[in-house]
Amino acid sequence: MPLLDVQDLTKLFALKGGLFQKQTNYVHAVEDVSFQIEKGESFGLAGESGCGKTTCGKLLVRLIDPTEGHIYFKGEDIAYLKGSALKEFRKNVQMIFQDPYESLNPRFSIMDTIAEPLIIQDIGTPEEREELVANALKTVDLNPPEDFIFRFPHELSGGQRQRIAVARALVINPEFIVADEPMSMLDVSIRAGVMNLLLELKERFNLTLVFVTHDLAVARYMCNRVAIMYVGKMVELAETEELIGNPYHPYTKALLSAVPVPDPKEKRERIELRGRVPTPINPAPGCRFAPRCEYAKDICAQQDPVLTEVESGHWIACFQRG
């Protein structure tokens, strides 16, 4: 049994219209997405800004409620849990917002920040919590913990803040973590350090990791499997090396061809795309990529292509190969 079995997951955000607007518009942030994640896996959600990665990640840890679909966690559907059952589920999962400037409350000390999930879950006495927090700090290489525990976020560097965010996620000893990388991480050496730290912790604690990123080179480094999203839909899913070496979906091919390579001798073949990413508000029926796809046929504008396994472990949503 997979750790996580996601079936037809959908999240629509209603947009509040003006006073005289009769019809409510919906952002189709995530639509009809199905996939499984095995225990101990590192699973990537990749794609361009606004494609639904973060929304999908938040659904998996139930930070937000789905509109439709199911999320089976160890066989139990957690998609619509409420109250104490939801709280119980949350003992197993955590989300890391990797933007160190936005994710930490400036008025919380490091102790308060990291202990928060423990307090929410009623774990431990104050003394025990302090020890758990100290251990979490050691785990993310912030040594000695006494040097950090009573500081505030603004008294830490960017890299230290990122480690605090990781420590906060680890403190309740979760099985499953969603890590969301912000659009642009300008602190290059810090980013690489945190990537290595997450991989190390994943091995050490046998964590299952969903890694959200717009950067496919980062996804390659971090993930066993990667799913590519486009305007709320999952268009391709495969083992990372397979996806990179042997992409099927026309969008995946274009996306991969646009990734810059850190090697001045490398000459890339670019696949040019016409047009731009369409709005996810009340999207047209059919394949979301059809207006930009050079292989589009009549059927593409009429029917939604379903994510289908075309080769063992390699899934695509496209009429061309599906």
Partner: protein, 322 residues
């Protein structure tokens, strides 16, 4: 022929806490028609070099020392009115996040026309004609000049900003993180456009980015910056194949790649120093795996090791890097 020669430039920002030593003894020479990348981590002083060259410093910024020879003429002592013409048709700068600075209440084309007429004695018709040509040059249909900024995508705004920078046919462009806020497919098309324009107009370019992959794709030469110093400068292929400075080596090992075998990232431990109080001697000594006592005591000279391959390290050439 050298179009720009920066010699021993020093620029500080004064703040309540003391001087931020943002540019410390930087030297750089750029030949006509060359594209040079300036790369380094967030806060290392890349933007500071750009705004120093154009003397667009905020009130608290001051040049303490050094020469900036543009076509043989030192810009440092030049009065503001002469600088204004240098900025327009000598060296034009594309600012970091400039696309957010377009005025939302005016049509984009009108904003470019206004900028042209402010600097040159041309009729309105001529200015509009030029805008149409510029739009073609940056790969946009001239009719789009009639639109307002909110009708543009991020990529189109960035193209418009590039068009504006080219409006008075400058000899050189400084582009500060021109694609950092953009998605990878849009980034790729902008990079392609910049390269095309650069080749077509034989434009000299200083391309600032934190992303060494983007720099590797766009620039024939690369200057690596660390904590206010340019620590290495050479042609791109040599810099990647045989770097001389340990920081360059660490930076190169911090970027995952989508191509080639999967390599373990080996980032530099620690974080860049605070420039209010940078380390003595070699500013990298607090993180350098090869640091000796000498490094802490003496500032390494920025020396030319091979033709146009410079580095600032006491032990450059003696270390085994890459």
């Amino acid at each position: 022929m050298k179009i720009l020669e920066v010699n021993n430039l020093r620029m500080y920002f004064s703040t309540k806490k003391g001087d931020v030593k943002a540019v410390e003894g930087v030297s750089l020479e750029i030949g006509k028609g060359e594209s040079v990348g300036l790369v380094g981590e967030s806060g290392c002083g890349k933007t500071s070099i750009g705004i120093s060259i154009l003397k667009l410093l905020p009130d608290n910024g001051r040049i303490l020392e050094g020469e900036i020879l543009f076509k043989g003429d030192d810009l440092v002592p030049k009065p503001e009115d002469e600088m204004r013409s240098v900025r327009w048709n000598g060296i034009s700068m594309i600012f970091q996040a400039a696309m957010n600075a377009l005025n939302p209440v005016y049509k984009v084309g009108d904003q470019i026309v206004e900028a042209i007429m402010l600097h040159e004695e041309v009729s309105k018709e001529e200015a509009y004609e030029r805008v149409a040509q510029l739009y073609e040059l940056v790969g946009m249909s001239p009719e789009r000049a009639e639109n307002y900024p909110h009708e543009y995508s991020g990529g189109m705004k960035q193209r418009a900003i590039i068009a504006m920078a080219l409006a008075c046919d400058p000899d050189m462009i400084i582009a500060d993180e021109p694609t950092t806020a953009l998605d990878v497919i849009v980034q790729d098309s902008i990079i392609k456009e910049i390269k095309k324009i650069q080749a077509k107009l034989d434009m000299t370019m200083l391309y600032i980015s934190h992303d060494i992959s983007v720099i590797a794709e766009t620039c024939e030469r690369i200057a690596v910056m660390y904590a206010g110093n340019v620590v290495e400068y050479s042609d791109s292929v040599t810099l990647f194949a045989s770097p001389l400075h340990p920081y360059t080596n660490g930076l190169l090992s911090s970027f995952p790649s989508i191509k080639g075998p999967l390599k373990k990232l080996n980032p530099i431990p620690g974080e860049p120093p605070n420039l209010l109080n940078p380390p003595t001697g070699c500013r990298f000594h607090t993180r350098c795996p090869f640091a000796q006592r000498l490094c802490k005591e003496q500032v390494p000279e920025f020396r030319e090791f091979q033709e146009r391959h410079y580095a600032a390290c006491h032990f450059a050439g003696e270390l085994s890097l890459r």
